[in-house]
Amino acid sequence: MSLVFKPEETFRGDYSYRNSDAAILRFPFPFPEDRYMYSVNIEPHVRSGPTDAFCRPFDIDEHYIAECRDRALTLELDPGRCQVLPHMMAAQWDTLELLMENLAADYPEQFSLTKEGDVFGSRWTWINRPLGIEQHFIFGDPDTLPCEPFEYITRQAQGDFAICDQREDNLYLDAGMITSQADWSLAFNVGMNFMEWHGPVPLAHQAGVFERALKYLLMLRLGQPVRRLNWTMSINPRLDTSPESYPEWGPDRASVTVENAGGKVHLRVELQTLWRLPRSNAILFPIRCFLISIEELARVPKWGKRLYRVLSSLPPELAEYKGLTRYLPATLAWLAPLDDGAQLATGIGPDITELAPL
């Protein structure tokens, strides 16, 4: 896929973010069926999937430059969005290596990595053409980078990143670069174990979802990453929906009407992957966020109809937890006319290869 970046688009202020037709068709739509409920929907993260967004270990798309700029803005306002506990240095280098190797392999026109050796102490050169970066550094020596290795590389990647240290048969959220989260605070959660960190999620604990997920993740193997989708909704294409900035974006939830819902209400999908890291034995948890307005989404007829069915049958606890309650009625009213009641194929693919012209 050739990449044409849209460096000027914004995720705040005038919210000029839009998806091209190609970006719509590759969107990781999260609903294979007409109803949604929590499950351990984990599958191997292989180089294939129902849409193109699944097909590379670390996905880059047309929004790359604009997203990196938005992250830099958020970090300038609040450096605490990146936190790394002191025992995570090996995991920081693991993350840098994994991202650089994969980005250079999958996007050779955009990135390149040259190594004089693989072990700590080797000279490496990293080139990031979209962001205009050429960095010579010594792998394993943080003083040869402008900031610590985890912050350095995640400033140049799309999506949030957390690293979990594994100990005491648990996973601890001991590092994170979190600037596009669905309303959770890294500064509050850093250092928590897996159960504490998922503490506020309703229904799933009682169903044993987290116990099973944790047991599974503790056995996650090097070289066999896994993925799952999670979703919520946002008003406006805003990446920074953190609790820190809730006073800024909270009022938007009260601004939705049936007339403006199509452009304002966005489906927010997280393609979450999980990687065993080689040197630290920690787990890297990239959370790649995709935003699409329901107007854009509905250009894929199957997705528009299915979204209506999922939202209209959502358990109220989940709607409340995801913060949808206030604008769900207007959203449903906007979507309702799209649903002709036709039976929809199982699965999340768009089932079309081209969008009808606008």
Binding site: S39, V40, N41, I42, E43, P44, H45, V46, R47, P57, H87, M88, M89, A90, A91, D94, E97, L98, E101, N102, D118, V119, F120, G140, D165, Q166, R167, E168, R212, A213, K215, Y216, M219, R221, L222, G223, Q224, P225, V226, W275, L277, P278, R279, S280, N281, A282
Partner: protein, 316 residues
């Protein structure tokens, strides 16, 4: 960095003591190997004339080395198993299939001090620990119990070791485990790897002294992931009978004969492959089924679980 098996070539074999063989392995295609952490092991598929062994060995090469993996194999007396194969048959140029590195014995990164106790060949995981700690600057001490004649055997891998002590079976040279464990500061993590008797003694002594269990670690070697004793599965709906080999999972065997078997995680967690058992007794290895479902014996997760009985009849 995605994959599950590696094609390796033996680069060198070297007898470092009468029953210890050092083996150096590289990627058969000459490329870089996946990096591995301190305490990691690889499972080697050793193809003998009559049968195949799958043995796990600790990597002793410095963590992160990608040009070669090194292991040390002790010949188990009277064994006709994998260790004898490594000592008698394996030679430079031989090709082997190995798993990617996995790690059930990684150092605790939050430790303020690492206290290691090794018995005999149980020293191998600590050789990579020492290299890791030397790089990170972590405080550590290694206490080695071995034969008096072998106190120098591992010296080439221990040059960067901080505090190092050797013990052997003679008056004045034995390790006083309770005394060692009594004087350790908060924040210490204890690791033991050796014969079962030593492991048990150290774990018991730590418990007696009041060490929190969270700070005591013991290497559990070679935990099988999906292999085991062979058995027969009969797929009642499709009428196919399949022999499940010792080195494949039930799910892999079902897939091999082309039967439809839904699955997702292939690790016993997601529940997608859950299958009804019509006859036979399952050996459950999954994280999905509850205690009652396990006891009921009517469900199985073929991606990881196997059979206690010689035959299983499945509703597939």
């Amino acid at each position: 960095m995605i994959g599950d098996t590696l094609e390796l070539i033996v680069v060198a074999v070297d007898d470092i003591a009468s029953s210890l063989r050092h083996v150096r392995l590289a990627a058969a295609d000459g490329g870089p190997l996946p990096p591995a952490a301190a305490g990691a092991n690889i499972q080697l598929r050793l193809q003998g004339a009559a049968r195949t062994w799958r043995n796990a060995y600790s990597l002793i090469s410095p963590p992160g080395r990608r040009d070669a993996y090194e292991i040390i194999v002790r010949r188990v007396p009277e064994s006709r198993g994998g260790s004898a194969f490594v000592h008698e048959v394996l030679k430079p140029g031989d090709r082997l299939v190995a798993s990617w590195p996995s790690n059930l014995f990684a150092p605790q990164r939050t430790a303020r001090h690492h206290l290691m106790i090794a018995g005999g060949i149980g020293i191998t995981p600590f050789l990579s620990y020492v290299a890791d700690f030397a790089h990170s600057g972590a405080s550590h001490a290694l206490h080695v119990c071995c034969r008096e004649s072998e106190t120098g055997t591992f010296a080439p891998w221990l040059q960067a070791c901080g505090e190092l002590h050797h013990y052997w079976d003679a008056d004045g040279h034995r390790l006083d485990i309770p005394a060692l464990l009594a004087r350790q500061p908060a924040g210490t993590h204890l690791y033991v790897c050796g014969p079962a008797a030593l492991n048990d003694e150290v774990i018991q002594a730590a418990a007696n002294a009041g060490w929190p269990a969270s700070h005591v670690h013991c290497e559990h070697f070679g935990a099988a992931l999906s292999g085991g004793t062979p058995f027969t599965a009969f797929l009642s709906r499709s009428g196919i009978e399949v022999e499940v080999g010792e080195s494949e999972s039930l799910l892999e065997a079902i897939e091999r004969v082309g039967a439809a078997a839904p699955c997702l995680c292939r690790g016993g967690a997601c529940g997608v492959c859950v299958t009804r058992v019509l006859e036979g007794e399952p050996e459950h290895r999954d994280h999905y089924l509850g205690a009652a479902e396990r006891e009921g014996g009517e469900l199985i997760m073929p991606c990881v679980s196997r059979a206690r009985s010689t035959r299983l009849v499945l509703d597939l």
